[in-house]
Symmetry: C2
Subunit: 301 residues, 2 copies
């Protein structure tokens, strides 16, 4: 078995990167908060396949958690993560402490723009600024050619892609499909929080999104249908469905343009969109789960 | 005479940088808004002396100007700048257009922290966010080993130094002394705005700061003197002096710790500071001039 190198300091990573770049190696990067599931491992495998060297970071970033969120409870198991990453073929894990990443006096923030205003950004103020700041730091430390992100956190992905492009970071953002359990539930470290009953209920999140997608496609095809309330109808039905299935509350369910994340004002803007983003966040007890799907507009694709 | 290469696109710069880095060259960088004076040329000469290759950027950054500030009036003369830079030995000038730096949909902001709250930051809301954002972009485009900044914009300098360190940019920030006219006026592209009478009055800015510095040093030495109002006394006197000399109004005159930019609460904190930052901003008509001095604490240095 190959051994994996766990690096805890920024200087340590920079030294290795310098050496690898001298050899002309391309660097792939998978930033994570650890507690790996198949979704993480897919990102790692893809990076290993596409790049000469792959770095995985494991850092539960305090800056992206709100004061009432689950920072302390967020699952951590470095030993298990190292084994899983090693099994996937990873050779370098960056695992810094909080003080290494945010020393005393730290104060500069990378602030996301309008892409962060809705969806999870509306429910979690400051969350995406925390994400952008830590990802900017990690990009600057690791200077990857490619960075791999899962579509499950789609809003995060488009915000990071925008940041990398706005700030000329020279990192290619690679979008990787959401990995799902057999019953359709999107893999997430937070699924661990669920009771058996909650776990059974959770499948309604993805099922409802798929149903909404099917209804939207049908509506788009039926171009004689100009009903303005199609979206509000789908949203009301979705909410009903997931509450009946055992969710305690819906945070949001929204249908928007997949590029701009702007919600549709009516059937016309919906039919003109190239790709449609259907996303939901909902609570089972204190556990907040999210999921989404991107639908290509059948009239345009 | 050596020729200077003027590059207008980000892709163009990145291509050259890639080639230079392959040769193992160290890159020096001097970001400017153009309309060069001796201060700019000193930065360039120092970079040329210390680095294998030097890039100068000329970009009047709209994002760091407030809606009522002098963006449109800011002096520009590319031809003269190119001649002066060339004369100083510069080979690469990056001169992008506004759309190249801020394409439609641009939205990510690098936000400075508490270092930006006082002094010019208080008078110019958002100014330092604009500075940080453009400098972050320029650093990512040029990936310099060393970047040269003048001490005349001292608050800007410490904010950028903090940004580079907070975000792990790997750029060494080099502080270069303020270059002054023979009568002491700090060189600035904005001195151009002054009428002959204004130009004569302007010397009071630097003269008063030096006088304040002398009085502070005297006070620090005289350790039996515990008068709490020393700083407010100096400030009142400074304001009087510059208004009498022909300034129309004082924006600020402050005395603070040179590292944290926190103002002193009294004689004790003053005597404990390693270096003292004395800074002023004042108006002659619409022209806002700034100046500062850093005083080493004679008890500690």
């Amino acid at each position: 078995m190959e051994t994996v190198k766990i690096i805890e300091t920024i200087a340590g990573v920079k030294e290795i990167i310098k050496r690898l770049k001298k050899n002309g190696s391309t660097i792939g990067f998978v930033p994570t908060m650890g507690y790996f599931h198949e979704g993480h491992l897919e990102l790692m495998k893809r990076s290993i396949k596409e790049c000469d060297e792959t770095f995985v970071s494991i850092f539960v970033n305090p800056m992206q958690f709100g004061p009432r969120e689950d920072l302390a409870a967020y699952p951590r198991d470095l030993r298990r993560d190292v084994e899983l990453a090693c099994g996937a073929g990873v050779k370098y894990i960056f695992h810094p402490g909080v003080k290494e990443m945010y020393p005393d006096g730290f104060q500069t923030v990378v602030k996301a723009g309008p892409l962060a205003y809705g969806f999870c950004g509306a429910s979690r103020p400051g969350h995406f600024d925390g994400v952008c700041t830590v990802v900017a730091k990690l990009f600057n430390i690791i200077t990857p050619d490619f960075a791999y992100f899962g579509m499950k956190d789609y809003q995060q992905l488009v915000i990071i892609e925008k940041m990398a492009s706005d700030l000329n970071m020279g990192v290619n953002i690679v979008k990787c499909p959401t990995v799902r359990e057999k019953d359709g539930l999107a893999m997430s470290s937070r699924n661990l929080y669920l009771s058996p009953a909650g776990r059974a209920a959770a499948t309604a999140l993805a099922r409802g999104i798929q149903k909404a997608a099917d209804r939207l496609i049908e509506f788009i095809y039926d171009t004689r249908n100009a009903r303005g309330d199609i979206i509000s109808g789908i949203i009301a039905e979705y909410k009903d469905d997931i509450i009946k299935s055992g969710f305690d509350s819906l945070d949001y369910f929204k249908i928007a343009d997949a590029e701009t994340l702007v919600e549709f004002s009516g059937p016309d803007s919906l039919r003109r969109a190239d790709r449609i983003f259907i996303a939901a966040a909902a609570f089972i007890g204190k556990t907040r789960l999210i999921d989404n799907i991107i639908v290509k507009n059948p009239l345009l694709n």
